[in-house]
């Protein structure tokens, strides 16, 4: 067992709490209802899975921060169930998955506010990968536990239905006028909203009934909003989850599908399931909870997982409602019913897919899984294969100006953020001398830290709405209102089809991305290299030190280029709470097996205990890219032989502290 589920909480289209969720499901209620919170007069679609006690017009107030209110409702329930008050707050981490957050503020500030309100003072990480956000958040929670960054992680997500979201999906033509009927007719999805959180622990302090066994991430690298119709991207995430769980596909006895109900989405997902489950796919029940909860966007994945576990608790599996005959390319057993079906299912696969080509699958198990040992993890060594930077960062690193393949990045239709990120990532691949061909692409990932969507794209979206009205908003610009849009576009441009994610942790967003990528590489069998980095678009305000640009590094399990005959190893990684920088540095050194006395370079915030060591600071720089700049500076110093062992650290006032240790290793002469 990787992690036990010790608490859950949910705010859904049925109302507040786990009990209400079960009552609604058991009674066969339809959670998708007429939207009353805001006017839907200009749309053809007026329904969604809106949280019932927040559907009145009075709640349509952007200042009310409904996202945080819903998140706190669900997180407090989970916190109380798990009796987290017994743990030191610094050992409780928080991972929040949200597609759009509360709009105006940078993503990580939403998570920070939730963390403060809950008293979770371990690392607070925001995952924003559109409709896979909360599923991915739960996946990263497993990694934080495995790294020892926390004793318990509250993980999940929240998203709110707004007029903009309704208008965007309406414009894309993917909404159904009646409550959605996944795998059936009419085609089209229903939006929703809500919040769900689970508490996971490695060593449960109380009774637990379920375990999260593993998760998998992948990129379609195909389209901004639509799925790859072949389903191969989705299948990669599912196989990754099974491998991480140490299970064969035969072990799965129920699938809670993404099942949006759209013409493009359902068949792609079914093709993926068929390829992963083989002949058994025809016998395994596959249902979609969106048929009664609606599509709660970034919160959908965790809410559907919680609905599944609540149903299993009552010896049932959730149904697919509104089913009126199968569409072609649909699962033969969609659990077509208005109410849950009696079942002895124990091992469940939950799948999510989202804008930007993000896929995330997760495997959970019951009692038997709780007692089983976690699959043995053989940690692989990670090397820094290359670095790349654009904007003022490039000049700062004094990198040679040979853009090589980066010059071929096609800027058509890309906003500044996407252009910068893609160019920096291409430069990092060039620097490592890598060309990704065939199967290599599927084993190459991308994990990026950033805090806000492109201002250029959001201004154009605003302009299209001002000029033409909400109904006629620009579909391409709407698709870029998810934080992972530049990351998905970069994955597509460079054919990075392996694990894909987008995270936010204030000024340490970029370093956090590196730390999470390093853990994926060190522990997973489905990836060999990951481009990790940070990107920021120039905004000047609120922090004038924030500098536009992107910095990326190529991390690889294959030895990288270093000073002649040597290579640079990312030997230690640590994430800790916002006030725990010293602890993060200590933990990173310990995981690297390096004594503080061996360090000859510190980059980032000065560490009191290391005052005697040369300390570099990326002066006057802030933002997601700048923390990676410090990492790249350290790599440069090691390459030039100016240092042999470096500590790179960063802290963000209320999100997290992060520390990484880089060492020069002698080259293996036998290679």
């Amino acid at each position: 067992m990787r992690a036990a589920v010790t608490g859950m909480g949910a705010v859904t289209a049925y109302g507040r709490g786990l009990a209400r969720l079960w009552d609604g499901m058991a009674a066969g209620e339809q959670g998708i209802r007429t939207i009353e919170r805001f006017s839907t007069a200009e749309f053809d679609v007026r329904i969604a899975g809106v949280v019932p006690d927040r559907n009145a017009p009075a709640w349509d107030d952007p200042g009310a921060s409904l996202c945080i209110e819903l998140a706190l409702g669900a997180a407090r329930e989970a916190y109380a169930n798990a009796r987290l008050a017994d743990l030191p707050p610094a050992r409780i981490a928080l991972v929040v998955g949200t597609s759009l957050g509360d709009y105006e503020r940078p993503m990580h500030e939403v998570t920070e506010q939730i963390g403060d309100a809950l008293g979770a003072h371990g690392p607070r990480i925001t995952v924003s990968t559109a409709c896979t956000s909360s599923t991915n958040a739960l996946g990263f929670a497993l990694d934080l536990l495995e790294q020892g960054a926390a004793d318990a992680v509250i993980a999940g997500g929240a998203d709110v239905l707004t007029p903009l979201v309704l208008a965007g999906f309406h414009r894309l033509g993917v909404l159904s006028r009646t409550p959605c009927a996944p795998f059936s007719s009419p085609a089209g999805t229903s939006l929703g909203e809500g919040a769900g959180f689970v508490v996971v622990e490695r060593r449960p302090r109380g009774p637990a009934r379920y375990a999260v066994l593993g998760y998998g991430l992948s990129a379609d690298a195909y389209h901004e909003t639509g799925p790859d119709p072949s389903g191969v991207g989705v299948a990669r995430a599912m196989r990754g989850a099974l491998a991480h769980a140490g299970l064969a596909a035969d072990a799965i006895d129920y699938v809670n599908a993404h099942g949006t109900g759209t013409v493009a989405g359902d068949p792609a997902e079914w093709r993926a399931l068929r390829s992963v489950l083989g002949a058994r796919a025809d016998k395994v029940p596959v249902s979609s909870s969106k048929s009664f909860l609606g599509h709660a966007q970034g919160a959908a994945g965790v809410l559907e997982l919680i609905a599944t576990l609540v149903a299993l608790d009552h010896g049932t599996i959730p149904p697919t409602r509104n089913f009126a005959g199968a569409r072609p390319n649909s699962p033969p057993d969609p659990v077509a019913s208005e109410v849950p079906r009696a079942s002895t299912a124990q091992t469940v696969l939950c799948n999510s897919s989202g804008f930007g080509g993000a896929n995330c699958a997760i495997v959970v198990g019951g009692r038997a899984a709780l007692e089983a040992d976690a699959p043995a993890v053989a940690r692989r060594a990670i090397y820094v294969g290359g670095i790349g930077a654009v904007g003022p960062h490039r000049a700062c690193l004094a990198l040679e100006p040979g853009p090589g393949r980066a010059a071929t990045v096609d800027p058509r239709g890309l906003d500044a953020m996407t252009r910068d990120l893609t160019t920096a990532a291409a430069l990092a691949l060039d620097d490592a001398g890598l060309r990704l061909r065939g199967a290599m692409q599927e084993r190459s990932g991308l994990v990026v830290g950033t805090t806000r969507v492109s201002k250029e794209s959001s201004d154009l979206l605003r302009q299209s709405i001002d000029e033409r009205g909400l109904r006629q908003l620009s579909a391409p610009m709407f698709s870029r209102m998810v934080l992972n849009a530049p990351v998905g576009a970069c994955a597509k441009a460079l054919a990075l089809k392996g694990p894909l994610s987008t995270v936010s942790a204030g000024d340490v967003s970029g370093l956090t991305a590196i730390a999470l990528a390093a853990h994926l590489l060190a522990t997973r069998g489905d990836v060999d290299r990951i481009v990790a980095g940070g990107v920021e678009e120039d905004r000047r305000a609120p922090d004038p030190r924030t500098i536009e640009g992107a910095v990326a590094t190529l991390l690889t399990t294959e030895p990288g280029r270093g000073v002649p005959g040597a290579r640079i190893r990312l030997a230690g990684v640590s994430l800790a709470g916002p006030a725990e920088l010293a602890a993060a540095c200590e933990a990173a050194l310990a995981s690297a097996g390096v004594a503080a006395t061996q360090l000859d370079l510190v980059v980032g915030a000065p560490v009191a205990a290391l005052a005697h060591v040369t300390t570099l600071r990326p002066e006057h720089r802030a933002g997601a890219a700048a923390s990676v700049l410090g990492f790249a500076m350290a790599v440069g110093a090691l390459r030039r032989g100016e240092a042999r062992c470096a500590l790179v650290s960063g802290e963000a006032s209320a999100s997290a502290s992060c520390a990484l240790v880089l060492v020069i290793e002698p080259g293996d002469t036998h290679e």
């Binding site: 894309l172 901004e224 639509g226 058509r412 906003d415 579909a475």
Partner: protein
């Protein structure tokens, strides 16, 4: 009919096409962020795939632009598919709907 009238008519039609081409190129550059010079956008190049690299989201935006810029509401997917092949086929669509001017 004299040759001069034919010539005038032809000149007028060419000017009309030129004017529409200019407006459509502007839409591609401004709304779809096609980072190209105006005269780089070959009126016969494919809009999607190997040509300008547009995709289905851009197609949604083009449908809106036809409506807001030219007052054209086109819902027939076959007509759209044929008309969204190149800038010239889009010009045909706009002229066809505008009727013989």
């Amino acid at each position: 009919m004299s040759e001069t009238t034919d010539l005038a008519e032809m000149t007028r039609r060419v000017a009309q096409r030129e004017e529409l081409l200019g407006r459509l190129r502007k839409i591609l550059i401004e709304h779809l962020q096609l980072r190209r010079e105006v005269d780089e956008l070959d009126p016969d190049a494919p809009l999607f795939g190997s040509g300008f690299g547009l995709d289905s989201l851009d197609a949604v935006e083009l449908v809106v632009c036809l409506e807001t810029e030219f007052g054209l509401r086109v819902n027939d997917p076959t007509v759209l598919r044929q008309s969204f092949r190149s800038l010239n086929t889009m010009i045909d669509l706009v002229l066809g709907h505008a009727g013989p001017a």
